[in-house]
């Protein structure tokens, strides 16, 4: 392409620190969280509590990977927005489907009629 389009946009060179350390640390953190998750399922708490704990843990892992490993933290916010549109709609659809199928009206016949 011939002419620079957004020539005016500010260059941002402020992050040239070595990411090696960060990556290794995050990987360790992820491993630890995974370990905790595995222990969590055996804890004697109410299942809703455990489920939510697991959901939060995996969400945290998820965010670490996309923001650090996948560089979103350092990239243009546009990438984040783009991905979150998909994430939001995908997640929302999942949520709505589970809600709909969780409602009594959607129970399969076998679990309604004994």
């Amino acid at each position: 392409m011939s002419s620079p389009a957004a020539a005016a946009s500010a260059h941002d060179h402020g992050h040239e620190e070595n990411k090696f350390q960060i990556f290794v640390q995050i990987a360790m953190l992820l491993a630890v969280i995974t370990g905790i998750e595995i222990i969590t399922v055996y804890l004697p708490f109410a299942s809703w509590l455990l489920i939510w704990t697991l959901v939060i843990f995996s969400a945290v892992k998820f965010l670490f990977v996309i923001f650090i490993f996948m560089h979103l933290r350092w990239d243009k916010p546009f990438c984040t927005i783009l991905f979150f549109i998909g994430l939001f709609l995908g997640g929302g659809t999942m949520w709505a489907l589970l809600k709909l199928f969780g409602a009594a009206a959607s129970f399969p016949l076998s679990s309604v009629v004994k």
């Binding site: 959607s106 129970f107 399969p108 016949l109 309604v112 009629v113």
Partner: protein, 419 residues
Amino acid sequence: MRWPILSAKSTALRAKTAIALAGAALLPGCSWIRAFDLNGHQSTIDVEGPVARTQTNLFYVTCWVTLVLFIIVGAVLAYAMVRFRAKTEADEHAVPPPQGHGNPLVEVGLISGAVLALVIIAVPTVKGIFYTYDVPEVQKGEAYQVTATGYQWWFKFEYPAEQIAGHGALTTGNELVIPAGRPIHINLRSMDVMHSFWVPKLAGKVDMIPNRANLLWLEAEHPGYYWGQCAEFCGESHAVMRFRVIALAPSEFNAWLNSQMAPARDAHPGAQPATAEATAQFASVRSFGQNETGATGAFEVSPLDAWRRKQLPDSNEDPALIARGRELFSEKTCSTCHTIRGNPSAVGIVGPELTHVGSRSSIAGGLLDNTPEQLRRWIHNPEAVKPGNKMWVTGYVPNHITLSAGDEVCLVSYLESLK
């Protein structure tokens, strides 16, 4: 219109409909409007039950609101089209008009207007959803329970309240008889693919879905004869998967129940000859197979009365033919698919129960009138009447069932005698 039931209300309704709909139609000439008398057998406008009425009234609300919007917006649009039109070639090349970019105030105003219009629709919608979903709490006690099951391409109706020793619930096919003036709670089931239960004059449709426990409620305000049809595409003969609903006054309904609970009538030689004469016309497919226009829509008697007559045995039935027919029913393996209580060999459950098939006004999934000719046409070659039907595909073809003309006469006599 010769039916007393309809004529009273339908004029008012027709007027209302004509205004609401034809108003938007911009139809040239009145002859068109006549084409849209919305009072056919499956009219969703000319309704006769509280559920359908709620739905239709809501339709009127949406119709009026959008009609008003259409007139307003349309008027502005039409005005703009006429007023700002460049009249001549030269006009088109004149100095461009002011290059205005919009006006936020106008936008906000219009958006609020649209939201308001939607609120007018939304309120009755939500109310309607809750009302039409299940029998209202106060009426739950008096609701009558029925189970309807869809098959490719016919309906089975069961009455769980009416248990018959050794047989389970009372079962009929393709004609649902219900008490009028009483809420009916219908459990909807499907044994193969998706179907949908729809009697437009009584209630909107609800789907019959495999592995799902759907329900529907409806009420017929007064005794009557109603047309229904499967409303979810379910394969080759979806179009001809039809049924009827007959609403009876409570006492008549009980009498009907009693006669249906009994095993099949045994018209053995020497039995009491029947009394009343029953010839009725049901205005279904008169002559499927030729490109005829079918029945006229006018009835010699009201369909309900015709149905009533059908309950009585024919006076000139021939016990010998009937007895032979009964034998043939087993010989030709009909009995492996159909149940006839009172005929010990006929215990099949693949096809509709035929214990009282003679008392029904229609056969083959509401497709044909239950007359001897039509019945004969059906058993002669079901495929020609209802393409792909299971009686043909899984019965006649693999079992090589062929019926001679004589067989057919006997079978028809037998089946017609089952009142």
